[in-house]
Symmetry: C2
Subunit: 309 residues, 2 copies
């Protein structure tokens, strides 16, 4: 395995690095900001890249926010961005369901509804792709399970289980409950595909960890005897395929920028991108980048080092 | 591996079988009844055993019911029983927490409260052993998570996280939610033991399967990087130890009766009981009992064959 090139302070190397790529995919937390703190070099770096005519894409596993919600979050952090530059795991799942699934699973063509376990971000992205859905934020699913529910589900009664549901899509759901677990399980047992926006087991907030989307799908995996969902977030390549499907870029001219070796850098390496850039302002340490199993092609102390040489 | 003795229709063999044991541990669903249907031979068999002075124990993994609740269920099925004859996974967990844990984990002596994810059956059994608890059916935990929750939990603020909590006990919880997952995770990260009443991934109801206690603990296991809870239901031997602790019986003179090779029969075999009796009125087939990896010492077509010869 080769040693990553260290770019910080090396003007010549940075210039060559930038010339190699047309597209930069950015992980956000740990790269552009940390928690509520925007890194000072983030905005100048993005500006420099845009001025050079590079395409920037903000890639997020966050499934609760739609692209527009996430654009607003970028804006609130002080980073100007367009909706088109944002690529989230919910959007990635929606694209897969609307564009790829009908070809791969023609048997599901007539079962074109999605049962959602998740928040509004998923619903917005399914709507943007014209995909019908139920569950999700519908308050009718925020209640206790009743003996009648058991009977109707056990009987496969269409009053409980919509026969048009061909996909169960699970993301982070702050309103996850027993009833939704029952529905999701019974739809899958009746032939629906089991998809997840992403498999992050935890979600960082306020400096600590809380349950992530991967923990919401865990009970279903347990009930299904270990069956894992098909997932769309980094490092899953379904996400890269969806990004490529949208931006039609040349993978050899694209670079993934991230702070985590095992998700961001792995995502770029397995996607056979032309390059990967590690930053040391997040989770992975210099030792991980230099000696780990998953090494970026390049690394910098911080993203802003690309402009401040 | 030896072939199980088939007792049905063999009066002499049945008589010898009965003479070997003083205590009979019964799995219930699939042995005494199926769903709402009581098998006709169940009551006469239990009567015959009691008339012969045998101790009968009803062993259930059901964590939502207290022993008294379960006794009522037995009664409603037409089976007379006393509370003392009922042994459930919640009671098993309560006994472990009150009697064994203080010796095994002296460091938790001052952290003597249990955070419960589960229903009233767990609370009743903890109360019966004088163990303090919080969470559970308290309506204060049936709400959405707020930004304030994140901050308080991240800071380990005693307003959110009671410093006296030394155990998280997870059972089947029909009111499971995101907030309880957050609490359970943060208590465990702060040193609380991770216990589960039982690990059944599903719960049969109305002829179909629904999420079981093992699915309720699955998100925590996912968040904790794969850490499994210590569990008390069959086939876990913590349950057998608790039963022995209470009834003080001679294991060589005890027989486990069940319909499932991989839980009931395994429970008896790993517990080194004198005998195991499989019945063919539940989940396991004759082939499983005769050719599987976990074989009972004896089997009958149905429990009632012990009296109707």
């Amino acid at each position: 395995m080769s040693t990553p090139d260290y770019l910080t302070g090396n003007k010549e190397a940075i210039s060559q690095f930038l010339d190699k790529f047309d597209v930069f995919l950015f992980d956000c937390d740990g790269v552009l900001w940390s928690g509520d703190h925007l890194f000072p070099g983030s905005v100048p770096t993005l500006e420099m890249l845009r001025n050079k005519g590079k395409q920037v894409v903000f890639v997020t596993n966050n499934s609760t926010k739609s692209r527009e919600d996430y654009r607003k979050k970028l804006e609130s952090m002080g980073i100007p961005a367009t909706v088109e530059e944002v690529f989230g795991s919910s959007y990635s799942a929606a694209i897969y369901i609307s564009r790829i699934l009908p070809q791969r699973h023609p048997e599901l063509k007539k079962r074109n509804k999605v049962f959602v376990v998740g928040e509004a971000g998923i619903e917005t992205e399914l709507d943007s792709e014209g995909v019908s859905h139920l569950g999700g934020t519908d308050p009718a699913y925020r209640r206790d399970v009743t003996p009648e529910d058991y009977k109707l589900m056990a009987a496969g009664d269409p009053k409980a289980l919509d026969p048009d549901v061909g996909v169960v899509l699970v993301g982070l759901d702050f309103h996850f409950n027993y009833l939704k677990m029952c529905y999701a399980y019974h739809y899958i047992k009746r032939g629906a595909l089991f998809l997840a926006t992403n498999m992050d087991s935890t979600l960082p907030s306020a400096g600590a960890l809380f349950p992530g989307a991967g923990s919401i799908s865990a009970p279903l995996t347990k009930m299904l005897g270990g069956q894992e969902p098909m997932a769309f977030g980094k490092p899953n390549q379904a996400m890269m395929d969806a990004i490529e499907g949208k931006f039609k870029f040349d993978r050899s001219r694209a670079c993934m920028v991230g702070d985590r070796a095992n998700t961001d850098i792995r995502f770029g390496l397995e996607g056979k991108l032309g390059g990967t850039l590690g930053v040391l302002t997040g989770v992975s340490t210099k030792e991980e980048f230099l000696e780990g199993d998953t090494r970026p092609a390049y690394y910098v102390d911080q993203l802003g080092d690309l402009v401040e040489t």
